[in-house]
Amino acid sequence: MLALALAAIILVTLLMFGLSLLSGSTKAKPGADFATKTITVTLTDEPPNLDSSLTADQISSFVLGHVMEGLLRLDENNQLAPGVAEKWEIRADGATFWLRPDARWSDGKPVTAHDFVFAWRKTVDPASASEYANIMNAIRNADDITAGKLPPEALGVQAVGDRMLKVQFAKPVPYFDRLMAFNVFFPIREDFYKATHGRYASGADMLLYNGPFKMVQWVHGAHIRFEKNPAYWDARRIAINVIDIPYFTSDPSARVNLFRDRRIAQAGLAQQNLEEAQLLGWNIRSFRDGGVFYVEFNHRRDRLSRNRNFRKAIQYALDSSVEVNKVIKQPGYLPGKSVFPIWLDGVNDKFRKEYPAPEYTPDTARARAYLARAKQELGLSKIPPIMLLAGDDPISGRVAEYYQDMLKRQLDLDVRIDSQIFKQRLAKMLAGDFDLVMAGWGPDYADPLTFGDLFLTGNVNNRGQYSNPAYDEQVRIAQNSNDRKVRMDAFGRMQQIIFDDAVVLPEYERALLFAVDPQISGVVRRVFGADPDFTYVKIAKE
């Protein structure tokens, strides 16, 4: 009897091993394969929407950046380069683009100016409900079309023949050329779109491609495969034949294990994997993704944090370099000094070189003096507990506890941490249900205005509802001028007001860590558009 049971167990075990050996004997494909010029990588999730006029997420924009191309593109140094347009001109009242004759769709037909007109009208059409429709507000009538007051045909963009595109602006947009590399400005061909009967971009065969690669396979949630697009005008530049993505997982440990097993050519690293990666001698890089994180005060009328001296007290009690170096302790992070990150361009150099962030040293005595004044103004002998709204990720948790501790020790303030999952935190932020919130902003375009207008009165993303006519005036100058110096001066003054008024307290500029297979070179990381960009990748022989 015992023998029988044992025999059965042994049989099952043997069967499983047999099966595993049988099926496991297939030769493993390495993450970077020189022979077939293939790289294998992972995605954290399924691309949510590959209709370029509707896309609003990072994964889709990674895919689109490889298989599509706009009028202009960003090169390996993140500089603007010709895309479908070979020549362009930006004026105060509009722009003109001349399309190259050899730009073609994957079915061989030419990419024309009409394809852009169709896509752009579709973006502003209220029926499309595109989340990024507002980025088109630079173009004449765009806002009225989105609001349903004008038909999409009224948009200030015309095709003059097949190869010239003319755009009329609603107001000067000196950074309009940079927008052209953004996916909502990509072309969509009308006849193909209509032939898909509402299923556009729902599968690999439901899209037309005009970029360096085309998607040949898309098994939802499981597998995406790009192959070099022979119809692409600059196909000679592309050194690899295939980008294979057979793994979709957001688990950092799974990615690290795949990388260890040499199944993938690149892996994003979480902090818990860093030490191991260093021990294994991996080729680790860091990349600052362009986002700025800050503590935002609630400036609504019924809040203590509306008091400037109260905010200044907290400003002088906290230290962003301690936060980054002692609490977050992750390589690549930069202590926050300004809401304008260091990568932004100024007049002739980087903005932050020409307009340095206001310098200050944390100062407990000063912080206490500010707090005493605040108590006097508020008529309080003791400040009631203040609510700090935070995210539920490990870093936010540690940082929130650091604040709690610092503010208790330095100012005897009681801080209550309110950790919320993403959606709930957003709801509370919008409702103004906080005193302090750990917030952040990722840029929409490469101009300081994408950060500067955050604190404009009435901006929907001004979650603290800060309102200051002097600040609003600077935003208006930056919005309406076409003069680089005038605009940068305005941003410089905004930076000063944000510090003086303690509108928000900059925490850090974030960095991401990743490991790359030493066999591949040319992985480009970007703040905008396809990130990472594998179109410049070369594979070396092992």
């Binding site: 949510p48 499981a222 799974a254």
Partner: protein, 310 residues
Amino acid sequence: MLSYTIKRLIQGLITVWFIATATFLAMHAVPGNPLSGAKAMNVEIRQNLERKYGLNKPVGEQYLIYMGNLARGDLGISFTQKNREVNDIIREHFPVSATLGIMAVVFAALGGALFGALTALNRNKWPDTVIMLAVILGISVPSFVFAAFSQLMVVKINALLGISILPVAGWGTVSHMLLPSLVLGLGTMAYLTRLMRSSMLEIINSDYIRTANAKGLPQTRIFLQHEMRNAILPLVTVLGPSIAGITTGSFVVELVFAIPGLGRYFVQAVQQLDYTVIMGTTVFFGAFLVLMVILVDLLYGLIDPRVRVS
């Protein structure tokens, strides 16, 4: 039998309706909005989106519309996977979870029955002690630990041997399925082992086994026909819910092994407040569970003739 089945099915339908309504109400009571993202939209764009998804209507009306569509089998379009119908998501990803789940259940049931019998027959001897220790581990250690650990082991073994014995992650071939299904079934197997052990202990001390022994029946026959058949009944009872639980996917195992199953969509939908996917997957899982329970009840009658369904 037929009228009993029909009665159970109608009860099941009412249960599913109740699940759908409760989920709908709970989902709308949660603060937050499926359309909200890190960046707030301006009023016009938000209104356009709300119109597109019908969120501009009062919740009561949304409920009636949803129930009407549900009755027609239309689960709507996902809020996050904007080009996909929830029906498609379930159709494409449930078979993956089901395949994985069935392998896990087979593994769990087989292992549970055998190990359970083994421990009972060797009560208080070393096989009993060793297996019960493993059972405690299997029940108390969460599956993500097993998943991560086994994945790391595969990486190490592959590196050691220089060839790929098992894939680290991914989906497609039988070899991709082995490790995840093992990990997924481990907890259930441990639980079933315990159940089988206690049920087997009860049986081997019963009068009819003593009679069988006294009559000199061969041991294998006593074991297979009398002991196993009777002891396995409690296992069948819990197998139904277990099958539903396992085949509807494990978020963790699917995440770690990069498996395109339904469990992942289920959990992510809740995090992202993807109304249509939350409703679709919950109703689907609910219906599946109800169906499994009914099936097991019917199966019970077949295995044990003493149970007369009335």
